[in-house]
């Protein structure tokens, strides 16, 4: 039985130099200790985001690894059919570990490397990111209809709707604002959707017993390790995702296997259904989920296909940003429905937004919350930068 849920993913090691930098980074004030005193993390408050880890000047914070205990073991086990998914933010950061400039997209080499490491099928989270977006977009429409009193939508939750794909944010809401939970989208995160699909649809399509499928994900995120071990993610009768490794850990595995990453021939991901819309590629940046789900909602509600998506107003780097999108709703005779959206980047900025929602003051319909500054590209599982500015 894993202790991830009870002990948390992130721990301070005794390399801690007591510099106290991390306490200002932590969005939940989970790190205790004064300058000069070794620091420690209060598990109860920690949301496993790993921001302290990638910002510790002395590399004194570690995340629990599933590589040896789970992933390598499964790869060596001939009875396991090991599939792997990689989140969009991984491909633009993995190259940094091999001397590439940040942002270089190395996905084709990444697919090749994963095959060298022994994964039986190499898929891409982009596909289920599309599913998440569709789910969240559709759910938003249903909540809007419920809010407008349209009959048949009474079962849907209240507005505003919060996104659910960031497990750090979800744990924060659970820990601190349980009253806000009905507002959080019921859609699984792309990682968990992929896991579920791999044990159901994929097993069926490949003709493999779902019990022998081992589902691994490569994530820019340490909170995803916590998410994958949550007990509720077993709807298919099997654990959706069996193990998670971070971008850093994938780089370590590639290096440990002696693979010369940069000279690998480009390869493609295995496909198991249609093509990705490309909407998911912007998942890694803040505003990505929001933009994509809104596009879905717009198309469904207005019946018009937007060939050019222009929600640029929601992009940027200030922690809380908002925008209004006017949607002509076909079902309401073309009545224009203004949808107010908000993006919160950084869990530490979400409190005011939540207080407004709980007090009934919020004007928003849809709120995206991503824990990490700039989104998953700067997640706690990404390569550690050593810039001095």
């Amino acid at each position: 039985m894993s202790t991830l849920l009870s002990d948390g993913v992130i721990h301070v090691s005794d390399k801690c130099k007591a510099c106290d930098h991390c306490t200002s980074i932590c969005p939940t004030h989970a790190i205790k200790g004064r300058l000069g005193e070794k620091h420690h993390i209060e598990v109860r408050k920690c949301i496993n985001c790993g921001q302290c880890l990638i910002n510790c000047p002395f590399g004194a914070i570690d995340d629990v690894s599933m590589v040896d205990e789970r992933i390598i073991k499964a790869l060596k086990d001939p009875s396991k059919f090991v599939v792997v998914q990689e989140a969009p933010a991984v491909r633009v950061a993995l190259g940094e570990e091999f001397g590439q400039a940040p942002g270089t997209n190395v996905k084709h080499k990444m697919y090749a490397a994963l095959r060298r490491l022994g994964f039986d099928k190499v898929y891409d989270t982009e596909f289920t990111a599309d599913l998440t977006i569709t789910e969240e977009g559709t759910e938003l429409i249903c909540r809007v209809f419920n809010d407008l009193g349209v009959p048949g939508y009474e079962a849907f939750g209240p507005l505003p709707q919060f996104t659910s794909c960031c497990p750090a944010w979800v744990k924060y809401a659970e820990d601190k604002y349980p009253q806000v939970l009905p507002h959080i989208s019921t859609a699984k995160s792309p990682q968990q959707m992929f896991g579920a699909v791999s044990k159901t649809y994929l097993a069926e399509k490949l003709g493999i017993d779902p019990a022998s499928i081992y589902s691994v994900s490569v994530m820019p995120c340490t909170a995803k390790k916590y998410e994958c071990d949550r007990p509720e993610f077993i709807a298919s009768g099997f654990k959706d995702v069996d193990a998670v490794m971070t971008t850093r850990e994938l780089a370590q595995m590639i290096k440990a296997a002696g693979i010369d990453f940069m000279s690998l021939e480009d390869e493609q991901a295995d496909r198991f259904i249609g093509a990705s819309t490309g909407a998911a590629t912007i998942f890694g940046a803040t505003g990505g989920v929001m933009e994509a789900a809104l596009r879905t909602a717009y198309e469904v509600l207005s019946g018009e296909t937007l060939d050019k998506v222009d929600f640029k107003a929601v992009r940027g780097f200030k922690p809380v940003r908002e925008a209004t999108v006017e949607i002509p709703v076909k079902a309401l005779g073309g009545k224009v429905l203004p949808v107010n959206i908000c993006i919160v980047t950084g869990t530490k900025y979400v409190d005011d937004v939540i207080e407004d929602v709980l007090a009934g003051r919020s004007q928003y319909h849809f709120i995206e919350v991503m824990n990490c500054p700039g989104g998953c590209v700067n997640g706690g599982g990404q390569p550690i930068r050593r810039d001095t500015y």
Binding site: D20, H21, T23, L35, R386
Partner: protein, 221 residues
Amino acid sequence: MSEDVIKGKVLKHDTQTRTMHWIHLLAFLILGITGIGFYWDIAGIANIFGGPANSSLVHRWTGVVFTVAPILYILLNFDRFSRFVDTITSFSKDDFAWLKTMGGYVPFIKVEEVPPQEKYNAGQKILGILIIIGCLLIILTGFPMWLWRDVVAPATLALCYNIHFWTAIIMILLVLGHFFLAAIHPKSRVEFSSMMLDGYIDAQITAEHNAKWFAELQKTE
């Protein structure tokens, strides 16, 4: 070198200089001891100061004393300080010659005659320069480590720690050497009282060790 015995004493360091030196010395000791306690995680040291967090508080506020004392001194004694800086930064032929003989301090370097020196010999000049640079480095890294620890980039903070630590180690070694020469070595321990006690030093010794300065003193008298 004069064979005559010169009677009397000369004032080498006045009250303010000696006070500043004492304060700086004590602050340095506390900073060095607490700092070493941090680096090597020595519980015994931290506990003397009331545990790691309090030890750090002592370190930082002593750091304030360590910074403010010389600044006050310089502001109150600007002329004296400029002369000091002038002296320690100008190296003459005699200074280089002195360095070649190592001032006669090293037993296995045979020395006929040590070249005449100013108020500070070439070795003391170098020490003075190194101490000033060292203090600047340690102060300019110490305060960011304290006050800007939240805002600076992690790598910058790590760099500050490295500079702070290595400067501290070099300074501690320099100060140990300085202590040995100024308080223990039989040839120079007479200097001890001129800084640590009343400020005076034997005129005869000065005439021998700091001939140029002594000549100047006699001119102005």
